[in-house]
Amino acid sequence: MPQPLRSRILRATALAVALAFAFACAPQQPQPDHPSGGETGASAPSSAGGAPAAQGTPKRDGTLVIALPAETGSLDPQATTSLNAQRVREQMFDSLLAADWDLKTLLPSLAESWQVSPDGLTYTFKLRQDVKFHSGKPLTSEDVRYTFDRWRNGASPTRWLIAGVTGIETPDPYTVVLTVSEPNPDLLYNLARSEASILNQASVEAAGADFGTRVIDGTGPFKLKEWSVKNQIVLERFDDYHWAPPSYQNRGPAYLKEIVWKSLPEETTRLLELETGGVQIVPPRISFHEIDRLKGLRDVEVMDYPLGSTVIIGFNTRLAPADDPEVRHAVLMGIDVQRIIDQVLYGHADYGVSLVAPGVDGFCAPCKDVIPSYDPARARQILDDDGWRPGPDGIRVKDGQRLSLLATPYTTVPYPEAYTVIQAQLREIGVNLDLQPAETSKIFELYQRGAHGIWSTSIPHDRPYQAVFNFLHSSSIPSPNRFPYRNAEVDRLIDEARTSMDPAKANEDWAKAQYIALQSYVFRPFFHERGEVAVHRKVHGFRPYGYVNSVFQKMTDTWVE
């Protein structure tokens, strides 16, 4: 009965290889964490996430359970761009500065004061003298110097945030002086991000490769208690904490005794846990139809919060017929954006009016005048005038060429159905859309080869350069300026805005650059995302926060019944 050896080996090999293939080809999980895609954000200084702070006396020593939709990876602040990692480590670390709830005003954090020299080239920070790490070591300027040196000289994927810093000096244990090569109005904002968290030199060096996973030693209000991979991360209150930035009501030790970040990859399970109270906060992204259902529940509140994020529709102008501005103009005019927002996004987004989202510095109010609004009749006219005549199947033809455009949207942004609707709408004006959605790794490969068609991406930003410089400056070609768009005047405006120490002038330049670029029809703002987070009513004092999409600010004010 045993088969000959050889055929058994063959069978085993075939099965094992089939298994391996099954894995290699496994469908992509939606990646809520993906930098270009994924995250729901919001715009519009909306209801500012009403903090129900003053409801009764805060109850101490509770445990808050938060759903974690995807893994964090390393919690070393300099190691990843992961959004989930940022949310967790925000509780364990502090930066020199913090941003206020308006996302614009900078506040003291570990630095109690700071000064910028008139030429914008020297930054002096005075550190608080009463701060210590979880391990007990007091914070000194040496830790700050070590942290920034490690960041700018290492292989950190975020080290560009500190680019331009040429020198770090520590004249005394509580003073840090940074020198930069050219004025950079964004540097202070970058230093308020959680990537700029201050590390303890001694424990980072002692931990080696284990820093960020087994060893985490920050100055934040919570410390790592237990980490069971793909299961949960448990944080425990740091009792000595009393240096929260002034944006918090409780600047001392947190009310909560523990925060449990529970790994829950499946949305339905996450929301069932929320409804039954097993989990008390579910962060974005939450499916729009689920949000409407959650809003009807007694025990759950859906909070929205201000957040800058714009989803765009862009062309690849190297790919005919998208090289013809008239075609691009007509196509943008043939898309009924409002209808897609209403029907596909259930109204959970705002019509795109500027590359920089409303509420963020550099927002371009006049831009809405140069963004084509839906007008199929005029779109047809433009194509007629451009020589594209309706062919036998309704698709236009010019010189034997069909008016067919490739579209390669990222599968989950802005939502798979959106492009199907666009396809149907464009058919109405005689344009064929060759729709080929691409998953994460495929899309990067297409971008790299310049083989993408019409594309969409979500651009979360809290400073204008993250949208305007990254997507419109010629030095951002080939990526993320994948249109590719090149204009000397726009480059000049951006270069000036980037180094200007005059915020009003800079904002004007940022807006002008967008205005000019929009006139070439290489892209249009599709919609501005909203931040929506579901919170159980047992939770008090929680306020969602949009700074670099984090949602979770330090939770010193939060408590649970």
Binding site: L19, Q29, P35, K230
Partner: protein, 313 residues
């Protein structure tokens, strides 16, 4: 017997090595770039390049492969790209979890599926048989995603008997079962269907054999005939199926793991593939193929115990 087992084991090792190399190459030919994933969409090219160097991915493929096999030979699986943890540490607990889940589901599926198969065979062509066949087809057709959510909705959400999600790391205790019972049932539903069907058809074949007639003729009780004489002979294909399924289900639990938020190996690997975490995916496939060939080997050797006519040389 010992020589046969040794020969088979060596062959199995070669298979595993082949799979490892194949997966190594396939992974790197798959579009997607771990450095790009790690650095993020907006990172400038020089940063991505620096990250790539840091990961050793800028080296030619043969050099990378040689380094990998060299480290593998001394038991070093490397560090995960996304978490920076040693792969072995990252994979140990999820592996244990998935083994527990699959073993429990397998036991439930066998304990329930085999008797149902026998029952169907005995009542061949009658209403009970048809009912069981339909149930088996249905069980195999329900997606485990849906079965899992249905079970959660009814038993956890409506009745509140079990936790909605999660997992305990103290296996086989009462508390563990409270967490495990729904995911185990979900998996067992899928596993049970083919076991029932195969037991039925295998039994039908055996029940027509001379020795069964002889056993009945010499006056043995029907229960003894069925379970001692018939089932033992009908069990061989069922055993093969179960072995193959075991290997397959180590990777096939990902949907169930996602629904119930179980920190298992399937989830770990699917996430790792998404992130192009090469060391983690390679280690996972290594473990799968090791398990797979080991189970196959054990199943072959077990034939000898179930059917003494089988001799190994």
């Amino acid at each position: 017997m010992a020589a046969y087992a040794l020969r088979r084991a060596l062959a199995a090792l070669l298979v595993v090595l082949g799979v490892v190399v194949l997966v190594f190459v396939i992974l790197r030919l798959t579009p997607g770039d771990p450095a790009r994933v790690l650095a993020g969409d907006n990172a400038p090219p020089d940063v991505v390049e620096r990250v790539r160097q840091d990961l050793g991915l800028d080296q030619p493929l043969p050099v990378q492969l040689a380094r990998y096999v060299g480290r593998l030979a001394v038991g070093d699986l490397g560090r995960s790209i996304s978490s920076r943890r040693p792969v072995l540490e990252e994979i140990a607990e999820p592996l244990r979890t998935t083994y527990q889940l699959v073993v429990a589901a397998m036991l439930v599926a066998i304990v329930a599926g085999v008797p149902l198969g026998v029952l169907a065979a005995v009542h061949r062509g009658r209403a009970l048989d048809r009912l069981l066949v339909v149930a088996a087809v249905a069980g195999a057709s329900f997606p485990s995603f849906w079965v899992g959510l249905l079970l959660i909705w009814y038993f956890s959400y409506q009745l509140g008997w079990f936790p909605i999600s999660g997992w305990r790391s103290d296996p086989w205790t009462l508390e563990w079962w409270r967490y495990a019972v729904l995911p185990v049932l979900t998996l067992a539903t899928v596993l049970m269907a083919p076991i029932t069907r195969l037991t039925r058809s295998s039994m039908l074949e055996v029940l027509g054999q001379d020795y069964v007639r002889t056993a009945r003729a010499k006056g043995l009780g029907e229960r003894l005939v069925l379970y001692r004489h018939a089932l033992r002979n009908a069990a061989l294909p069922v055993l093969t199926l179960t072995a193959v399924q075991f290997g397959f289900f180590l990777g096939g639990t990902v949907v169930t793991e996602n629904v119930f938020a179980i920190p298992g190996l399937g989830r770990l690997l699917v996430d790792a593939i998404g992130l192009r975490d090469y060391p983690l995916v390679q280690a996972g496939v290594l473990i799968f193929s090791l398990t797979f060939v080991t189970i196959n080997l054990l199943a072959d050797l077990a034939y000898g115990f179930l059917d003494p006519r089988i001799r190994y040389e």
